[in-house]
């Protein structure tokens, strides 16, 4: 259902030689990653390996030190024509093309469920309220929350909150949706409802980059699995190969422990 605005052959996300340090600590090193339209990429790795930082660099919530990132063919962070960093407005325009779903949901607490979903289309895209409402109703139905329009976030369970957050991201028709451990803060029995929604999105052709610890999900849904270790991508493979025949000892160990 997402309205693709760029030619089909341009990757949704293309990262080249991206590095990032916090102080003296190099958190990401020479990351290369191409995510084509409609692909799902799962990012695995142990705690502190740089998964969140990688995701946050893609929409410039963190500013990488080196390398380039293109969203649907457009360079983010740097205005190449003007040869300078992007200003807030330019950055916002590109960020509007990426959706993000956080571990902690981050729904805006002062807005109702449907207002959370309508907010960015109206105030970022300038969409008329009525149109935004129609889209929001459709999306809330898609994530199974048609009966919660006027509820406020604090009344929802974690799984419901995360599904609203997904609807909120979808409302912008993003080129790619970035998920940072979307099920890690949920009760075990709520994990399934969120994963089901995400599986359906992948079937519908949404492009997604998913940092997760859900091996089953990664195996069943991904087109590529990426393994980060101390800021390096040490394996990148289709799930069949990644899970049954990993190249590195490190990944083999990781899979053993996670199994």
């Amino acid at each position: 259902m997402s309205e693709y605005t760029s030619p089909a052959n341009v990757p949704a996300v293309s990262i080249k030689r991206m590095s990032k340090s916090f102080g003296d600590i190099e958190v990401l090193r020479d990351i290369d990653l191409v995510v084509n339209k409609g692909e799902v990429v799962s990012v695995l790795g142990s705690s502190g390996s740089g998964k969140s930082t990688m995701l946050r660099c893609i929409n410039w919530l963190e500013e990488p030190d080196r390398g380039t990132i293109h969203i649907a063919g457009q360079r983010i962070g740097i205005n190449e024509q003007a040869g300078r960093k992007m200003n807030n407005k330019e950055l916002a325009t590109l960020r509007a093309k990426t959706g993000m779903v956080f571990q902690g949901f981050n729904l805006w607490p002062h807005l109702s469920v449907i207002q959370n979903v309508m907010e960015a289309p109206i105030y970022v895209k300038g969409m008329p309220k009525e149109q935004a409402r129609v889209i929001a109703i459709e999306l809330l139905e898609k994530v199974g929350l048609a009966d919660k329009h006027d509820a406020f976030p604090f009344t929802l369970s974690g799984g419901q909150k995360q599904r609203v957050a997904i609807a909120r991201a979808l409302a912008m028709s993003p080129e790619v949706i970035l998920f940072d451990e979307p099920t890690s803060a949920l009760d075990p029995e709520r994990v399934g409802e969120v994963l089901t929604v995400m599986k359906n999105l992948s079937k519908e052709g949404y492009t997604m980059i998913v940092v997760t610890h859900e091996m089953e999900f990664a195996r069943a849904v991904s087109d590529q699995v990426v393994f980060l270790e101390k800021g390096l991508i040490i394996e990148k493979a289709p799930p069949a190969k990644f899970f049954s025949n990993p190249e590195t000892e490190r990944v083999r160990k990781f899979l053993e422990i996670s199994a």
Binding site: K89, A92, A96, G104, P109, H110, V124, F152, F154
Partner: protein, 220 residues
């Protein structure tokens, strides 16, 4: 009961004073609140301007209100800037309480979870929209009791302006008591009037609290 009939005869003086106080109060707190919000938006960046503003806000908060009013009305003319009592009084109220409003909102901004802001950035909000739509509403809901307190203080500060010759409610009481020598009764009248305004404010704030309570914010 003659004193009370004198008061009744002087009702127009009180009424005019009341209108002046209400006008001063409402105009100044609206402007002060808006200015306070603008200040907090300016403080979002870590710039030289924001450092200067922080300093200014802190200076304002350590200054007694009466001295600020004196400075504007009696001090500025020495520098060639003469204002009417109304202009000086309004300006003093606005600047002074804007600093307090800013400080209240800023304190709340510091402890606001960054996740809400990041979610808004990730969805493409520009800084101003983000502030107006996501940050400010939450700050106002959360600081409602403190903002309410500040309103009452601002109301009482309007009484100081009698000293720079502004004809508000306290000045009205003063003129009645000095003309007819009935200080107690004259001041009882204005105390009751201030008290009534405060009660109306409290009631309005209580209603506003429901807005936050419905959204799961702490204060009821």
């Amino acid at each position: 009961m003659t004193e009370w009939s004198i008061l009744w005869d002087a009702r127009e003086i009180f009424f005019n004073g009341l209108i002046a106080t209400l006008g001063l109060f409402s105009l100044s707190i609206i402007c002060a609140f808006v200015l306070g919000c603008v200040l907090v938006y300016q403080l979002e960046d870590d710039s030289v301007l924001s450092k200067a503003l922080r300093l200014l806000i802190n200076l304002m908060r350590t200054l007694p209100f009466l001295i600020l009013a004196y400075l504007l009305y009696y001090g500025l003319p020495q520098l060639g800037l003469r204002m009417s009592a109304w202009t000086a009084g309004l300006l003093a109220l606005i600047v002074y309480h804007a600093a307090y409003f800013a400080e209240i909102l800023r304190g709340c901004r510091l402890i606001m979870p960054e996740g809400y802001v990041e979610a808004a950035k990730a969805h493409g909000f520009t800084p101003l929209r983000l502030y107006l739509r996501i940050v400010l509403p939450q700050l106002v809901i959360k600081t409602r009791p403190l903002l309410g307190n500040q309103l009452i203080i601002a109301l009482k500060d309007t009484a100081f302006l009698t000293i720079i010759t502004l004809q508000e409610l306290t000045a009205a009481a003063n003129s009645v008591q000095s003309t007819y020598f009935i200080p107690t009764q004259a001041f009882v009248v204005v105390i009751v009037l201030y008290w009534l305004i405060s009660i109306c404010l409290e009631l309005a704030l209580k209603r506003a609290a429901r807005f936050g309570a419905k959204r799961g914010f702490d204060y009821v």
